[in-house]
Amino acid sequence: MGDPGRQGRFGNYGGGYVPESLVAACRQVEEAFREAWPDPGFQQSLARLLAVQVGRPTPLTPVRRLSAELGINLLLKREDLTHTGSHKINNVLGQALLARRMGKTHLIAETGAGQHGVATATAAALLGLAATVFMGQRDIERQALNVYRMRMLGAEVVPVETGSRTLKDATSQAMRHWVGATEHSYYCVGSVIGPHPYPWMVRTFQRVIGDEARGQCAAELSTAVPDYVVACVGGGSNAAGTFAGFVDTSARLVGVEAEGGAGAALGRVGVLHGARSLFLQDGDGQIVEAHSIAAGLDYPGVGPEHAHLRDLGRARYVTVTDDEATSALVRLARTEGIVAALESAHAVAWVIRAAGAGELPPGATVMLTLSGRGDKDVSTLKELA
């Protein structure tokens, strides 16, 4: 999981399939990132923001009661404890610092669950930038709390009424808007998707999850490295950041997708939102609408690096149903006092199923990234109850 080069290739995947009007803008982002990342000044600013604003490092929590029930040793990397409540903030602060360094005054973002939108609105407020967040009308309805949070933070939230009215369409709309606004605006992509350099850059900013967890596992586990490393996968940023910390170890990497949005597990090669990767498509090559109770997983594709990891066999991608995810959410709440995001609950659900099916051997150590907290999902769950 290294530098994908100027062409942004992860094996057969990635690249920069953007309109000519965005080629220069993407290059500019790449140049800026290549210049900023090794700069100790940039690193220092980012590290300080992650410490004093985000609350990093986040803990690695050994889960006692659920582990005992499952006969395994489960550890949770607690991204739910970050400022704004999900891992999205790690990436956003990095990009927002970059945008300011590039002299941009506006941030553009797409959002599904609203967590990336809230994170973007937060970073914008903090750094004195304006923020415009595109969000599918359907997601606006099911994540109303986050919509109001964004507005309170001063961001403009633009409803997207096209297509499935979810994350896919919000992303398209954000790209359309960016085409006309490249001069002052920076497009702050929320996952390891989009054209080069985004998949690589976002993974690099999210790598802090995996790097921290690696060190914490070394301190916590007699084996130093867990047997399994598990994370949910929408576009795949929390998983990519997590995997990056363990890809050079013996840990088995498992990405858990929503059954209705399983780009990596069920998708075919295609090109969308700037990258060649795996997408859910019908026989005619039309992108299929994803369906997940977790707005953040309601995306028909996956980041190109995941497609590559799948091809290599280095990571496995599995799927979980809405019902499994909600049950896992409740079970984790009841046994550990943690109300996870519905997205994160997918990862927990797979662990529960795999432990029950003997797929995880008894005593296996499992490091799971809990990507966010469930406050945003409470009204969705309430309707189900």
Binding site: Q7, G15, G16, Y17, V18, P19, E20, S21, L22, V23, A24, A25, T162, G163, K168, D169, S172, M175, R176, V179, G180, T182, V269, G270, V271, L272, H273, G274, R276, F279, Q281, D284, G285, Q286, I287
Partner: protein, 261 residues
């Protein structure tokens, strides 16, 4: 005749080129619209192969795309509809790269050629990623048209002009497709820049909505592409005759401009 040869010969005849756009399958009788456009003086016609996620299109063409897909339009169906359409007015397919990747560029381009299509525009396929498709298109004699934009820097512009086939598509402004009240200033600048580095035909597209705008945009270029303005009318229920009449007005405006000193 190859698309580019056709356009060059029309230009050589002193004519400003006019290329209307029509979303394939947008209505049950869309081929009648196509024919009306051909009859009204189109030098070539861009046929949109609808894709679920048209990220570079504005609301009008998004709507046309949705309508076509809702009718069940497919690449295969559209190509079937137009097979044997006409030899006089070349057709240029335009779509997003995912539909090219679906069957693989070679099979895709071969299918275009078999349906009598002579050019291909893929707005989300920039120069840097175009190699495979360009080879596939060339090998079956389809011209892969590249796009240049106001943001394209100089050496890259020359490279685009060099590697484009058929014509060079000058994107008039930084934005999506869709009608605009005026022609962007960037249009003339870009067209002149492209023409400064190639003698390949240069067509200006995006936002050309009226005969006056077409005339204005064509001044520094070899012609114009008109998309959303036509599709708006189609979506509003315009008949083939209506659309033909509209295009004829543009044709006349462009021809008059030439005939004036």
């Amino acid at each position: 005749m190859r698309l580019e040869d056709h356009l060059r010969s029309r230009r050589a005849a002193g004519r400003k080129l006019l290329m209307p756009y029509l979303t394939g399958g947008v209505t049950a009788t869309w081929v009648d619209h196509l024919r009306a456009l051909a009859d009204a003086g189109a030098d070539a016609i861009e046929v949109g192969l609808p894709f679920s996620d048209p990220t570079l299109d504005g609301v009008t063409i998004q709507e046309a795309t949705d309508a076509a897909l809702a009718r069940g339009a497919t690449v295969r169906g559209i190509l079937g509809d137009i097979t044997g359409f006409t030899d006089d007015v070349p057709l240029v397919a335009s779509t997003y790269y995912n539909l090219v990747v679906r069957d693989g560029p070679e099979r895709f381009c071969a299918a275009l050629r078999d349906a009598g299509i002579s050019g291909l525009i893929v707005p989300d396929l920039p120069l840097d990623e175009a190699g495979e498709a360009a080879d596939a298109a060339a090998s079956v004699g389809v011209d892969l048209v590249l796009l240049a934009s106001p943001a394209t820097p100089q050496p890259r512009l020359a490279e685009i002009a060099r590697r484009s086939r058929g014509f060079v598509y000058a994107v008039s402004l930084m934005g999506t497709t869709g009608e605009r009240a005026t022609v962007a200033e960037s249009a003339a600048t870009l067209a002149s820049r492209i023409k400064g580095s190639t003698d390949r035909p240069v067509l200006v597209g995006f936002g050309i909505s009226t005969p006056q705008q077409a005339v204005e945009a064509a001044r520094s270029a070899d012609g114009v592409i008109v998309g959303a303005a036509i599709m708006r009318r189609v979506l509003d229920g315009a008949t083939p005759d209506d659309v033909g009449a509209d295009l004829a007005k543009m044709r006349r405006a462009l021809d008059q401009e030439r005939d004036q000193p």
